[in-house]
């Protein structure tokens, strides 16, 4: 009777596991030669382990069924055998050598970073990635694109908001890479340790602040490949996706041209902005939207911060009394804290709008409208 109950329970468990997502229970094979080899290695070891398990547990359960007192079994007296013990030391050792050989070959190849065609510098910071096209002289930040109302349901107001298809695995600007080229990644971080991971490439490399790690890949197929930060990096560690768009080499050339054009355009815009005068209304609208995406993760949408972790902006003496220091901290950050320098991340106009917003939101009434030239003077472009 009891055996029947156990069998039913086990079958129930297995069927519930299978009814979950059967296509989604194993490592991806990926889209690079290396990722295929890693997958094969994984499957080989998994199968070897399963076979050992079948033999060992098989023997054990045979004994459990046959050699039980209720079956009238009488205990044998043997309790050692040097021969048997040597056999079951040597056989596992040989199996291990069989595993180590392909693993060593794959590992040595994975660590060969030489002869790359393209170099991308990947920099992690709380909680976004920066990609710099080393050979092309431009770069950009890549931020989570999933709107907050899709994930933030702490007050219960967003229960009905539908989550998108690529919930938490979508960004505003993906890293664009060509297929068929050896791409070298130089991975580092600005603040804490992050880890840049794209499962489809079998690339996971820690981003250590102050040090540069190397990794590489050659992508075989065009497509969009998604990953995440893999090393705990603070509050929004779970909201730091990696998205890579792999395109053909022709498409890549076109995309590079567009990017270079937009860099030139951005410089022109910055010069124009320096000469222009921002109005309160315009700055508050732009400032609010930027504040929500760039500042609110720490300082919170209502400016209250998280006591003891991230300072409150609302009624902050610096904001109310010291305009110059306020602009300076947004532009240059504060060393030794989580406050980043935004001068490389945002344009001078955007920083001006954020500062204006912070000086006039949440009941603040400084009435200040920060101009691009004020921000430019602190070192932002």
């Amino acid at each position: 009777m009891r055996i029947k109950i156990i069998i039913i329970a086990v079958l129930g468990m297995i069927s519930s596991v299978l009814s979950a997502t059967p296509s989604n229970i194993n490592m991806t094979r990926g889209v690079t030669d290396i990722s295929h080899r890693v997958y094969d290695l994984h499957m080989t070891i998994l199968i070897i382990c399963c076979l050992i398990g079948v033999v060992v547990f098989g023997a054990m359960f045979y004994a459990i069924v046959k050699h039980r007192k209720s079956q009238g079994a009488v205990a044998a007296q043997f309790h050692e055998s040097t021969k048997v013990e040597i056999i079951w030391t040597v056989i596992p050792f040989l199996i291990l050598i069989g595993m180590a050989v392909p693993a060593t070959k794959t590992l040595i190849e994975m660590e060969d970073n030489s002869k790359s065609d393209i170099t991308i510098k990947v920099t992690g910071s709380q909680w976004k990635w920066h990609y710099e096209y080393f050979d092309q002289g431009f770069g950009f930040y890549s931020l989570l694109a999933t709107p907050a109302e899709q994930f933030d349901n702490l007050d219960g107001k967003n229960t009905d908001v539908a989550k998108g298809e690529h919930y938490l695995l979508e960004v505003d600007k993906p890293l664009v890479l060509p297929i068929g080229k050896k791409i070298r990644f130089l991975v580092t971080a600005d603040d804490v340790i992050h880890s840049w991971w794209v499962p489809a490439f079998a690339v996971k490399q820690d981003a250590n602040p102050g040090f540069i790690n190397e990794a590489w890949t050659i992508i075989n197929e065009p497509g969009i490949y998604r990953g995440q930060c893999a090393e705990l990096c603070g509050k929004d560690h779970g909201y730091m996706p990696v998205v890579v768009k792999a395109v053909t080499q022709d498409e890549y050339a076109v995309w590079l041209d567009e990017q270079k054009q937009s860099v030139i355009q951005a410089k022109k815009d910055a010069e124009q902005a320096l000469a222009s005068t921002l109005t309160m209304e315009e700055s508050m609208t732009l400032g609010e939207s930027l504040y929500i995406t760039r500042c609110a993760a720490c300082h919170q949408p209502n400016g209250a911060g998280i006591p003891g972790v991230f300072p409150a902006l609302k009624n902050s003496p610096m904001i109310l009394n010291d305009r110059a220091a306020h602009i300076d901290i947004v532009v240059n950050g504060k060393a030794g804290t989580a406050m980043q320098a935004f001068k490389g991340q945002l344009t001078a106009k955007e920083i001006a709008a954020i500062v204006t917003y912070e000086r006039n939101a949440w009941g603040h009434d400084t009435g200040d409208v920060i101009q691009v030239s004020d921000v430019d003077a602190k070192g932002a472009k």
């Binding site: 994984h42 660590e111 499962p199």
Partner: protein, 528 residues
Amino acid sequence: MSTLSTAQEHDEHHDHKPKGMMRWILTTNHKDIGSMYLIFSFAMFLIGGAMAMVIRAELYQPGLQIVEPNFFNQMTTVHGLIMVFGAVMPAFTGLANWLIPMMIGAPDMALPRMNNWSFWILPMAFAILLSSLFMEGGGPNFGWTFYAPLSTTYAPDSTALFVFSVHIMGISSILGAINVVVTIINMRAPGMTYMKMPLFVWTWLITAFLLIAVMPVLAATVTMVLTDKYFATSFFSAAGGGDPVLFQHIFWFFGHPEVYIMILPSFGIISAIVPAFSRKKLFGYSSMVYATASIALLSFIVWAHHMFTTGMPVAAELFFMYCTMLISVPTGVKVFNWVATMWRGSMTFETPMLFAIAFIVLFTIGGFSGLMLAITPADFQYHDTYFVVAHFHYVLVTGAIFSIMAAAYYWLPKWTGYMYDEKLGKLHFWASLISVNVLFFPMHFLGLAGMPRRVPDYALQFADFNQLVSLGGFAFGVSQLIFLVVVIKCARGGEKAPAKPWEGAEGLEWDMPSPAPYHSHTTPPEVK
């Protein structure tokens, strides 16, 4: 082996122990201290478990429902710290206190006053750690591995309390370990040579040396974290000439032997229970001893397998991969020996045996995933995913904790003088066995499919398994309350336990009456 001297029974009446609370605060008796360790560790198990319930409730569905991410990180961190330093390690120390003097024929531990202190500073350490959760800014939120600079420059203000509490836990462990070493070396009964000691005593002796070797390394690590955060040193900051990866090397030089500290005594427990219920001597006693010693030695040269993605040179990666794979040889020997012990035995399946069999199977599954994780190229995919979470919960929950449960059921009659309720014990076992696998097995799939660990929210393709895992988690949590009922019932009364309630049990502790007298062997038994 020996007969009980009547002097022991006299001692019971001549004892002048204080009454009430003072008895427990001032006690130097190994049984009182052992009981306090065990009760403390179970309380911590429930508190750490409650935190796991918060984690699983938040992860029941995608999106942030219950706790904000900063608090979620505090839950994962403190859950880990409590389970490692508050539940598993004190439980083993409690078992060592209760059992080692009885097993080696000694009257008590060698250093009884120190024994009292090594217990009583533990509640202080955990009171400090738990109180930091209520500070402004919250408690530690950087993972139980507290990687710098997340635990230094970017850590909450309460980090000093975390450091202080870890120091106290470390002192407690070192004191406990010294006591075990001194007791085993000096207080064995005449005739009990090293190769006649029960395996539980052997594994604890080796564990104690590991503790003495690595707890000071942990103390050094937290001290460097303290000075980096508060006194402007730069051990782990590149800006001042330090290196954040140095932190990981030092931490895991402690951390890897630490995981063996949490499993070697389990091997000793299983090596006592499996022969008892197979009614057959343990197969390969001496190879068990040598295997334990080899595992302990190897544990010092495998630490960087936790760090394959940190950008180590390929030669170092190969070295740590080979050494790590090598550990599976002595571990395999142990599993084979247990199976050979069961082979052609005359087995019965009381609760301790059920937990022991589950240990062998599920710990081995954890060992298999450990072997997979050792393969560096594959580890690049597994590292920091739920596959790792599945792996270490298999070795720690269905490994260490199942063995502690097995030990509790096995020796409860000796401790309380009453038999526990076998029906409830079996219910506890089956409820735990099924729920623990629903809880941890699907985590393998989640990790392989790409879910990182330590995230409060996840992509939609992980939703179904997470729901299943959470349900398993709640069921496992509730199942442990059955154990609480069993122990309370058993302590209050029931069927009287004979001196040796298990037909096949061996060892000096079974020569004493149940419950064991307040002082163990007051005249040393003769071991032949």
